[in-house]
Amino acid sequence: MFTPHTPHEIDAMLKAIGVNSIEELFIQVPAKHRFPELNLPEPLTEMEIASDLKEISSANASTEDFISFLGAGAYNHYIPAAVDMILRRGEFYTAYTPYQPEISQGTLQAIFEFQSLMTELTGMDVSNASHYDGATAAAEASNLAYHYFRGKRKKIVVSRAVNPQYRETIRTYLQGFDDVLVIGDEETINDKIESQDLIPFIDRDTAIVLVQYPDFFGRVIDYTKLVEVAHAAGALVAFIFNPTALGLLKTPRAFDADIAVGDGQPLGIPLSFGGPYLGIFTVKDKFVRKLAGRLVGETIDHDGKRAFVLTLTAREQHIRRERSTSNICTNQGLMALAATIYLSLLGKEGFRQVANLCYQKAHYAAKKISALKGFDLAYSNTHFFHEFVVKTPQPVRQINLRLQDHWVLGGYDLSQAYPELENHMLIAVTEKLSKHDIDDFVSALEEVTGV
């Protein structure tokens, strides 16, 4: 399909090699299993696959046609046209890892700018070139802490108000170390979803404490005391942040976090059914040599001209092999580029505007919904950013199914991950929703719950 060889060229090449047929090049492959007939459909032309995929995609309901109040780790923000136009440049997306700096300055400088933006956003000293997503960044933060203490501290304390998928990912990543204990978020501890409830878990055996900011329920919580206690015990603290929230809110660094990780999807990356997204990974200076993943640094070339290169590569798997602390090899290059373009386009003013719009619209929605009969704001005494929890008069699943008839995708059903939160909906509001959309949602909620 994409092989350019003419029969004449094939003959000439075979002759040069000194074989009679292409098949002869495969004689080392066990004959019994060589050249199996694969049971796949007949090949399609480009025109046919374009049409087929359009049809498949139309079997979905998307946020294009529905107004969506889903968040819980993936957010529907406006993406300026210029982001994708630039991403589509073949010079960016058909290049690979910038191993050869002389012919990769575009990618290298873009990553350097990404690192700069991430450190500015979080207040941290160092950002790497990115990880797969927020969940794996959180897992790598735990991994970093475990190795930082050379395996001597065995406890990873994680809040139950951290995204449930992130907590699962942390456990998956760390299962290879028999003695590690991930603790603090057990289901049996009823209602332990307040940050201060983590304090009793923290001791001299604690490697790291992980909290989310704003937390999974959208709440903005003052972690000052928690960080103090963790640091007094000698443990590290990681914040899992939402980047849009940092357009308004205090940085993780302002709370003295040692590591700040998050998912960069809200920064110009489409929802795309959950991926590819962008893992942001930032740390204080002193952890720079413990950091997993690529780093770009500034230097000069042979003529003294500024240049960018991959640096501190001796930390990484291709040099250290079994002695490296992580196997990460790629970063999310193109996604990091998207976030860099997005933040450059919005700039100081536009990014603050987006954060403020999210905050304002979410608060408007919260007021309107909690005024409905049978609906209550769940954590009414706590600040929130652009996500909040409401108690619903009926199971969320049921409400959401009915909302689809009103062209609405309702909020996340918290009972899926928190059995104690039956009839609790997590609602996210971004700048893309107008007052009109929110009012429609409120009336739809009223109608489908029949109150």
Binding site: P4, H33, D301
Partner: protein, 486 residues
């Protein structure tokens, strides 16, 4: 050619994309939680577009030229893939929508699982791993859990050939295993005698790349697998080099227990300047309940009236969750389109032309370069980037000089078992003319090495920047732009 950074271009007060004023009554901001300042750059939209356009011009890419980076399979990325991945019905779906509203996505993922199973001969495939390295982690964790479930706690040792990618040993130690490097024999195969001495009751498994990173098909592969199985271990296949085997051999058919795919290599999803990749994992029937969650499955069979109803399945003995949500769906769409456009014959054609191109190029280059393993290769081959009679010329010099001839250098200094390795993978999408031009450049450089070695030491001359001071970069550690005073 150089480009200022976004912070250097920034002008106080300049605006880019702005948003409408709030259309809702205002709520006071939480005073105690507000940040003091946020110094993002201040640029116009045009500033930004021009900046990144200029940056892009400093990159070498497949679209722009030949990129024979060994083990990375830098083949042409069909443009239709970019179009279909951006269809609004895909790109604008939220991962937590009710499953009834995402049947298109689930159908596509289910079908891709099925196709990958058929192509590889594995029983079940999970699409979630984010990259090849994460696929490896899945594999190593499955090996660990399998032995644990069987209460075989002594099995702590993973064997890895010395030709393997660095990710293999890193993954194994990350999964709590002890790594035992395995020597290669004179033919570049796994040394069976060495292997036998390691096959004992502490053996958890073997990670094998086949064809290996020398581009050689391990002729003893069936015996290797038999020995490991006999000792109670599992065999993990690193699918990095699957491009050579499409329609040629299904790794599951010869006894591999687990393998990851690199969709960004074999199935032509773009490399993106270093990701996103995608590393689905296939396993044998015996391991199918160990895969990460979720797997896409049919919840309700369809009939003539209605299509099947798709949903998620969590395997019973699952090692867990590798990341948020379901993998790199945007990449799955591209791989789906690529496989659909090829079919059985088209896939075999890929492997055949990849192997034809590599052997042809090897034949041409070996006249001037030392070929450490002189036997037919698969999709790539390794030559030495140095000559005994020319002191002081290294693989690096040759790679750098190739840039002046308009080519991306091959992978160098890998695999580690070859002196001054240059690892060359032309891929199937390159034409004979391109290969001839590249061979000509390699020949010219070999001559330059003899006649004017100094020329090579200082190469490249024609690139946006010249050789960079990596020692300085690591010593000074400037990892971010200087942000102007707030």
């Amino acid at each position: 050619m150089s480009e200022s950074t976004i912070y250097e271009l920034s002008q106080s007060g300049r605006k880019g994309i702005t948003f409408p004023e709030p259309d809702v009554p205002l709520t006071p901001l939480p005073k105690d939680f507000l940040r003091e300042s946020l110094s993002l750059p201040e640029l116009s939209e045009f500033d930004v577009v021009r900046h990144f356009t200029n940056l892009s011009k400093l990159n070498y890419s497949i679209d722009g030229g030949f990129y024979p980076l060994g083990s990375c399979t830098m083949k042409y990325n069909p443009k239709i893939n970019e179009e279909v991945a951006r269809l609004p019905g895909f790109a604008n779906t939220h991962p937590l929508q009710p499953i009834v509203s995402i049947q298109g996505n689930l159908y596509l993922m289910y079908q891709l699982q099925e196709w990958l199973q058929e192509i590889s001969g594995f029983h079940r495939v999970c699409l979630t791993p984010a990259a090849g390295a994460q696929g490896e982690l899945v594999g190593a964790l499955i090996i660990r859990k399998y032995h644990q479930i069987n209460k075989d706690f002594r099995r702590k040792k993973i064997l890895i050939p010395d030709s393997a990618h660095g990710t293999n040993p890193a993954t194994s130690s990350m999964s709590g295993f002890k790594v035992i490097p395995l020597a290669s024999d004179a033919q570049g195969n796994v040394d069976l005698d060495v292997l036998k001495t390691e096959c004992d009751e502490t053996l958890a498994g073997l990670m094998l790349t086949n064809p290996n990173t020398l581009g050689l098909f391990d002729e003893n592969v069936e015996e290797v697998i038999r020995l490991v199985h006999q000792a109670g271990g599992l065999v993990y296949g690193d699918g990095a080099n699957l491009n050579a085997l499409l329609g040629v051999l299904r790794p599951g058919d010869i006894g591999f227990d687990i393998m990851h795919f690199n969709l960004h290599k074999t199935f032509s999803t773009p490399h993106g300047g270093g990701g996103p990749g995608s590393g689905p994992v296939g396993v044998s029937k015996a391991l199918s309940e160990y895969l990460p969650s979720p797997i896409i499955t049919i919840i309700e069979e369809g009939d003539e009236e209605k299509p099947p109803f798709f949903g998620f399945y969590k395997p019973e003995l699952t090692i867990g969750t590798m990341k948020a949500f379901y993998g790199h769906f945007g990449i799955h769409i591209r791989a789906f389109a690529y496989i659909a456009m090829h079919g059985s014959k088209g896939l075999r054609d890929i492997a055949e032309k990849a192997v034809l191109n590599a052997n042809y190029l090897m034949t041409k280059i070996k006249k001037d370069y030392v070929l450490p393993f002189n036997r037919p290769c698969m999709h790539e081959f390794v030559v030495e980037g140095a000559w005994k009679d020319i002191p002081d010329i290294h693989a690096l010099d040759i790679g750098k000089r190739l840039m002046d001839y308009g080519f991306h250098p091959p992978t160098n200094y890998f695999p580690l078992i070859v002196n001054e390795a240059l690892m060359i993978e032309p891929t199937e999408t390159e034409s004979k003319q391109t290969l001839d031009d590249f061979a000509k450049a390699m020949k010219a450089i070999a001559e330059e090495a003899r006649e004017n070695p100094e020329l090579l030491h200082k190469a490249p001359y024609t690139t946006p920047v010249r050789r960079c001071d990596e020692v300085k970069a690591a010593k000074d550690l400037i990892l971010r732009c200087l942000v102007p005073e707030k």
